[in-house]
Amino acid sequence: MALAPIFRKIFLVDLIKGLSLTFRYQDPKEIYTEQYPLERPQVAERYRGLPRLKMNPETGKTLCIACDLCAKACPENLITVESERDPVTKRKVLTKYTFDLSRCMFCGLCEESCSTDAIELTPDYEVAQYSRDGMVLDQKRLEEGPDRKEYKR
């Protein structure tokens, strides 16, 4: 005859243990909720999100040399690069760059293939839009990044 389990049952020890555990959870420091539009989660540095075309910070000109490597690397063929040759410098100059976000699976192959680090998948995760029309990004939108409303607490 073990007495301890019987006493535990009579004095409802297990139930009280559970109550004390949940009572401690009420501490405001324990709260795990993130109030999303007011508080933004910190994603990992290598997170692959919204694409961006980088510019040379000194001249303000695009880093893209229109080599077409990203378009060839893309498994979905969603990047189009159009260029023409500059008659003076004999270099290729970018005339049109589009990125179809609706088909992108964020594999990051374009980023890896880029020889000048011009295209980059940023950690920006808010890519949802109201219609498919805005999902084909042109050079201007890729360079400027999204126009976003900031919420304050």
């Binding site: 139930l15 559970g18 109550l19 555990l21 949940t22 009572f23 959870y25 009420q26 405001p28 324990e30 709260i31 795990y32 909720t33 109030q35 304050k152």
Partner: protein, 427 residues
């Protein structure tokens, strides 16, 4: 008219006893409005407390910390479409929520918020309360039957079985508390009146929770378990077990009718808690009546209610000042500010000497009931639901013998002086 109004204020009995029809009506209206308001805010408190138990935040968007959420909820419920299933028994379906709500609210006729603050003082008060609150089952059964659907019917059948079996243990626990009222020195007979029970605790100088030490406590624990089962709350919420029965007896209800069920359930919770407070926790008496006695302590304790309301008002006004200054928040800010000022006005009125003594009883009573409401939420956040056979086993095999034993032992202990003299005479 004015004469009648002021005449009652000199008396020290309830309006029902004083024969003041006018004040009885006023009390009924105030209690109805107050309990409805309490239910609305307990709903907010439950969502909030439950969220904190589960390390969430709960409602946060409407007003500071979601304080105005219940108002938004009530508006939504009232504007919602009210559907009746095609094959339902329409009349019974219509009547059921009213039975539940009426049964829950009629009980408040005898709840003693203070020596003067009850609609009336019946000499069978506790019987009346138990009897009327059991009528709520009738509403639940009719709701389940009239819905003409499997889940509501199963839920209502479970509810009736559960209520019938727990009523027995509950009744026996209540009887042992009533038995204690008869041990008042010099009276010799007990009482069933709610006010009489509290006055007996006052005369004996002990709350019945601590009377004959473990006995009162055990009876109270039996009652506290049975009352959770009676009001269909977790961990005994089998009639509305979400995982098995969708929503139990109110599956087919929506909009206003559903909110009546909600109102009835929470009003019943408050009613049953107030029975427990009256029988075991000294009703309207302030805490520590023996340890901190004397007129000085009386004055200090009578200041507490007003101070409490002033503190609430300060918190509300502070959060009003911290509301966002945008145009879309203007109505919320004004509403919250008005609410804060109202609380402050109530607090100031409760500090006035004449009012203070008369009103503090209500405060202590409601505070004790509020503790019970918190316990209800705490239990819900902690314990998993019982299986139905376990529920029946606890009711019939544990609580019933326990309450019966406590009743017998209470009688023996209470009569022990007489028993001793009788034994001496025999030997």
């Amino acid at each position: 008219m004015l004469n009648q109004l002021t005449q009652y204020l000199q008396s020290t009995v309830t309006p029902g006893q004083a024969g003041s029809m006018l004040w009885a009506t006023i009390y009924i209206l105030v209690i109805f409005a107050g309990i409805s308001l309490c239910v609305v805010f307990i709903n907010w408190g439950e969502r909030k407390a439950l969220a904190h138990f589960q390390i969430r935040l709960g409602p946060m968007r409407v007003g500071p910390h979601g304080l105005l959420q219940p108002i938004a909820d009530a508006l939504k419920l009232l504007l919602k479409e009210d559907t009746i299933p095609a094959n339902a028994d329409k009349v019974v379906f219509w009547v059921a929520p009213f039975i539940v709500t009426t049964a829950a609210f009629v009980v408040y006729l005898v709840v003693p918020f203070g020596p003067q603050h009850a609609v009336t003082d019946m000499n069978i008060g506790i019987l009346f309360m138990l009897g009327v609150s059991s009528l709520g089952v009738l509403g639940i059964i009719t709701a389940g039957w009239a819905s003409n659907s499997h889940y509501p019917l199963l839920g209502s059948l479970r509810s009736s079985a559960q209520m019938v079996s727990y009523e027995v243990a509950m009744g026996l626990a209540v009887i042992s508390a009533i038995l204690m009222t008869s041990f008042t020195p010099g009276s010799g007979s007990g009482t069933l009146s709610m006010i009489g029970i509290v006055e007996a605790q006052k005369a004996q100088g002990v709350w019945f929770l601590f009377k004959f030490f473990p006995l009162g406590l055990v009876a109270f624990v039996v009652f506290a378990i049975a009352m959770i089962a009676e009001t269909n709350r977790a961990p005994f919420d089998l009639p509305e077990a979400e995982s098995e029965l969708v929503a139990g007896f109110h599956t087919e209800y929506s909009g206003f009718r559903w909110s009546l069920f909600m109102l009835g359930e929470y009003a019943a919770m408050i009613a049953v808690s107030s029975i427990a407070v009256t029988l075991w926790l000294g009703g309207w008496m302030r805490p520590f009546p023996n340890l901190l006695s004397g007129t000085n302590w009386d004055t200090i304790f009578s200041l507490v209610p007003g101070a409490f309301f002033l503190f609430l008002s300060a918190v509300t006004l502070y959060s009003t000042a911290r509301m966002p200054k945008k145009l879309t928040f203007r109505i919320q800010t004004v509403g919250l500010g008005a609410f804060g000022l109202l609380l402050g006005a109530v607090g100031l009125v409760m500090l006035v000497p004449g009012v203070r003594e008369r009103v503090q009883d209500i405060f202590w009573f409601m505070l004790k009931v509020a503790v019970f409401m918190y316990l209800y939420i705490w239990y819900r956040a902690t314990w998993p639901r019982y299986r139905f056979d376990q529920l029946m086993r606890v009711g019939w095999k544990v609580l019933l013998p326990l309450s019966l034993g406590v009743l017998i032992v209470t009688g023996v202990v209470g009569l022990s002086p007489e028993l001793m003299t009788w034994l001496k005479g025999v030997l």
